[in-house]
C-alpha cells in the first residue's frame, strides 16, 4: 500500500487494539468467555468493517406460535 494507506491501516490497528482491550476486560480468561484480538479485520476502522461485511437487513417475521407442532419432521 501507499504511504497514506499504510498510515490509515496503522491508525485503524491502533484503534482496534484499544477496542480489543475494552472487549477483553469482561473476559474471565477461562477460554469459555469470548476473547478478542488481532485478526484479518484489525486493519479496518469499525465503519469500514460495517460497510463491507455487515450488509444484511432484517425482515419482519411473525412471532413463533407455540401451538405449532415440531415433534415430527414435517413443516407446520
Amino acid at each position: 500500500p501507499g504511504e497514506g494507506e499504510g498510515k490509515k491501516k496503522e491508525a485503524a490497528l491502533r484503534e482496534s487494539i484499544k477496542r480489543i482491550n475494552n472487549l477483553n476486560s469482561l473476559s474471565s480468561g477461562d477460554n469459555i468467555t469470548a476473547f478478542y484480538g488481532i485478526n484479518q479485520f484489525s486493519h479496518l476502522f469499525p465503519e469500514e468493517f460495517r460497510a463491507i461485511y455487515l450488509q444484511c437487513r432484517a425482515f419482519k417475521v411473525p412471532k413463533y406460535n407455540r401451538e405449532v407442532s415440531l415433534e415430527g419432521t414435517e413443516k407446520p
Binding site: 473476559s27 484479518q40 479485520f41 461485511y53 413463533y64 415440531l70
Partner: protein, 214 residues
C-alpha cells in the same frame, strides 16, 4: 433432544466459505441451509451457487446487501433451481443473472419457515434438530475482533446486520451455546465458526430464524 448436537457430525455441512468484500452474507446463509437440507434428505452433499442468488434475487441488492427471508421468498415464489457452485462461480461482486435450461441439474426449494423465536430458543433447538441448520441474522459489530470462546456480551438484539448459519448446539458445559458457521473464511473465529450463548437472545440470534425445505 440430545444435550449436544452438530450437523457437521452427520457430514451434511459444506466447508466454510469466504464472502471476501461482498456484502452477500444473506446469500451465503441461505445457500448453506439449502446445501445441508438437500444432503439430510439423502442426497450427495454439494456446494450450490451463492453467486446465482446474489445476481438473481431481484428483491435484494447483491453484494450491497440483502435479507435472508426476502431471498427465501424469491426462491419459493420462482422455484429457481440453484445450480452447483462450480457451474456459477463466486466472484465477490454483483453480476448479471445467468439463466439455465430446465434440464440442467439444480435444486429448488419447496417451502421455508421464518419466525421470530426470541424467548423461545428451546424451540430453535427442536427446529434445528428436526429440520436442519437454521439461517439467522445477528448483530455482528463486535465480531470484527472475535477469536474464540462463547460470545455472551457486547452484542445487541434488534440490531441485526449480518446473516449466518446455526449448525448445532452444546448444552453440556456451564454455558450452553449455539454453534454458528460464518462466511468470513476459516481463519476467522474458531475455524470459521463462532459460539454464542444460548437462552438470552445474544446478538439477536433468535430474532429472525429461517428453515428451508427442499
Amino acid at each position: 433432544l440430545p444435550a449436544k448436537f452438530d450437523w457437521r457430525d452427520k457430514k451434511v455441512i459444506t466447508q466454510v466459505r469466504n464472502q471476501e468484500t461482498c456484502g452477500g452474507c444473506w446469500a451465503f446463509s441461505i445457500v448453506g441451509a439449502i446445501e445441508s437440507v438437500y444432503a439430510i434428505k439423502g442426497n450427495v452433499l454439494e456446494e450450490f451457487s451463492v453467486q446465482q442468488v446474489i445476481d438473481c434475487s431481484y428483491n435484494n441488492v447483491g453484494c450491497q446487501g440483502g435479507s435472508t427471508v426476502a431471498a427465501l421468498s424469491w426462491l419459493n415464489q420462482t422455484h429457481v433451481k440453484l445450480v452447483k457452485d462450480s457451474e456459477y462461480l463466486f466472484k465477490a461482486e454483483t453480476g448479471l443473472c445467468h439463466y439455465f435450461s430446465r434440464s440442467d441439474f439444480g435444486v429448488s426449494i419447496i417451502d421455508y419457515a421464518a419466525y421470530d423465536l426470541s424467548g423461545q430458543e428451546d424451540k430453535m433447538m427442536k427446529m434445528l434438530f428436526h429440520w436442519g441448520p437454521l439461517a439467522v441474522i445477528v448483530d455482528a459489530v463486535s465480531w470484527q475482533d472475535y477469536l474464540g470462546g462463547i460470545i455472551q456480551h457486547h452484542c445487541s438484539s434488534g440490531e441485526a446486520n449480518h446473516a449466518v448459519l446455526i449448525t448445532g448446539y452444546d448444552t453440556t458445559g456451564s454455558i450452553p451455546y449455539w454453534i454458528v458457521r460464518n462466511s468470513w473464511g476459516r481463519t476467522w473465529g474458531i475455524d470459521g465458526y463462532a459460539h454464542i450463548k444460548m437462552g438470552s437472545n445474544i446478538c439477536g440470534i433468535a430474532d429472525e430464524v429461517s428453515a428451508v425445505f427442499v
